[in-house]
């Protein structure tokens, strides 16, 4: 049975990626772990865009362009988050989000 040419397959894979990201967000008790999980959520969204682009969209460039934008924003977000984590770690000597409750650096 050919499942690689079916829209629902990709949508379900994207849903699983989203769920993996959500679970990791709850499970990891460090800021880096939460950053990793957010990358999974972003990838689920990007895979959805690509799947709809391939099977449904009238203009097959739009989904690819949106996925490129998601990649760019994810790169910017990762850079910002990593530098915030470094700043937080320098201040608190810890990456536990429970201990970093006041925003003042």
């Amino acid at each position: 049975m050919i499942i690689s040419d079916n829209l629902n397959t990709y949508l379900i894979i994207a849903a699983i990626l989203l769920v993996i990201g959500l679970y990791g967000m709850m499970r990891h008790r460090s800021l880096i772990g939460m950053l990793i999980s957010s990358e999974f959520i972003l990838n689920g969204a990007a895979l959805n865009f690509m799947a709809f682009n391939r099977f449904v969209a009238p203009n097959p460039a739009v989904g690819q362009i949106y996925t490129l934008f998601i990649m760019g924003i994810a790169a910017a977000e990762a850079a910002i988050v990593v530098s915030i984590i470094i700043a937080v770690y320098r201040k608190y000597r810890s990456e536990d989000p429970e201990q970093v409750q006041d925003l003042k650096l």
Partner: protein, 174 residues
């Protein structure tokens, strides 16, 4: 010709399993470095899925940007932010684990039912193709503003990252 289709299908299964295994590793492992490795493996699998969706360009970009840049940046964050005895993230209690699993499975079942119930009609007519040339034309004309805004966002992110990571260095030096 039929044989190639079977090989492509087998590769699709391989990439799908790679994605899930990477995700499982990223979520379950208690060492953060293993979690980053799992993320890289899963992103590689997603790149293979992009290839199956008819866009080799996006697959290459995924490997280049995500596996090549974002993962390396996260690895740097892990190495700069942690002393070796803090590399492990704490384990959840049994009750919290159950709550997290049930929340996630509820969300997944809802999405699954919604996906199965919805009928997605393909577009009546298609313009253009999946080629890089067409993407480039769209980026330069129709989505020019968004393209420029992305570069502004990246510039802002670079400057912000430098300022954030720099702050407090003088205090340490004193």
């Amino acid at each position: 010709m039929i044989a190639f289709e079977y090989i492509a299908e087998a590769l699709f299964y391989a990439f799908m399993i790679l994605t899930f295994m990477g995700g499982f590793m990223a979520v379950r492992s208690r060492m953060l470095m293993h979690a980053v490795l799992g993320l890289a493996v899963a992103l590689f699998g997603v790149a293979g899925l992009y290839f199956h969706l008819g866009s080799p360009f996006l697959a290459m970009m995924q490997i280049l940007i995500y596996v090549g840049a974002v993962c390396i940046m996260i690895v740097l964050g892990v190495m700069l932010g942690n002393t070796p005895d803090q590399l492990f993230s704490d384990k959840l209690s049994r009750r919290n684990m159950f709550l997290a699993l049930s929340a996630c499975s509820t969300g997944f079942v809802t999405l699954f039912i919604a996906i199965q119930q919805t009928k997605f009609a393909p577009a009546a007519q298609k313009v253009g193709d999946m080629s890089i040339r067409f993407i480039g034309e769209n980026l330069l004309f129709k989505y020019c503003l968004a393209f420029e805004l992305i570069s502004v966002i990246l510039l802002t992110a670079i400057i912000g990252a430098i300022i954030l990571a720099r702050g407090g260095r003088e205090e340490v030096a004193k």
